[in-house]
């Protein structure tokens, strides 16, 4: 499936080919810290299909729950999360693109959740949290 998207300010634009079945929720503590929320949602895009305009900032994270170092890319202007990938020069085999930036996110329904060990306990009962269609004052 063809996907495309941009960071909030538009400095970084990205497109590629994604298999919707790889849409994954990650509850690891690194994703909690780096999203500021309880989890992150990503979809896998082969590096050979990825096109990008703009240069993201990168941060090599060496604390993954899996033990694998990962490059985290974000927009240096607006801070939007773009992708994670393996460490190395040039095009990497795969990029885990952050679903929140993609125009097709309606169609990218997560098929699996990983690192549930550190999931926020309230996430499974989110429907029980009082809600408003629009905004209410904090």
């Amino acid at each position: 499936m063809r996907i495309d998207g941009a960071c909030h300010c538009g400095f970084i634009a990205i497109e590629g080919e994604a298999d919707p079945k790889t849409t994954t929720i990650c509850h690891c503590t690194d994703c909690q810290t780096m999203s500021g929320g309880p989890f992150r949602v990503s979809v896998r895009v082969p590096g050979a299909s990825l096109k990008m305009t703009g240069q993201p900032a990168t941060y090599v994270k060496t604390t993954a729950a899996s033990g694998i170092p990962r490059v985290q890319a974000f927009c240096p202007k607006c801070g939007t999360a773009i992708y994670a990938t393996s460490v190395g020069d040039g095009v990497q085999p795969f990029y885990m693109v952050r679903v929140g930036i993609l125009r097709q996110r309606d169609k990218l329904v997560p098929t699996q959740q990983i690192w549930l060990r550190s999931a926020r306990p309230w996430v499974g009962d989110i429907a029980a949290v009082p809600s408003s269609e629009l905004a209410t004052a904090l």
Binding site: H8, G37, P38, Y59, Q113
Partner: protein, 144 residues
Amino acid sequence: MRVNGTCHCGAITIEGEVDPETATICHCTDCQTSTGSAFRVSIRAPGATLRMNGRPATYLKTTANSGNPRVQAFCPTCGSPIYSTSPGEHPRPSYTLRVGILRQRDQLVPKRQIWTRSARPWVAHIGDIPHSELSTVPVSEPRR
């Protein structure tokens, strides 16, 4: 309640006083884009209580569903979101801290959800999505 936390790389540390009753999930499309995820969770800290080490990068977002411009602060080194606040000189009256960076996040259970108009439909049924306690490989090929 006293809270403290840091971005992922440790360049920014923050502490302040929050009312846990203000822990809020925001499903607006700006929060979806900025986090790359489905929603964001934040909690309000009065500016008078806030202490911060390090200097976040800021981005003035003018597209809020509410119409209010908001300053979005994030770590320039690792990209972790830190807070949002109103435009103007520091200290602002109030800062909306991102709960994911706080050490006390176990105790900060969201009390409300806003902008559910744009919520991802699967979020309410997240318990139905297959899961693994640890990591699994997304598809058949090995993760590299």
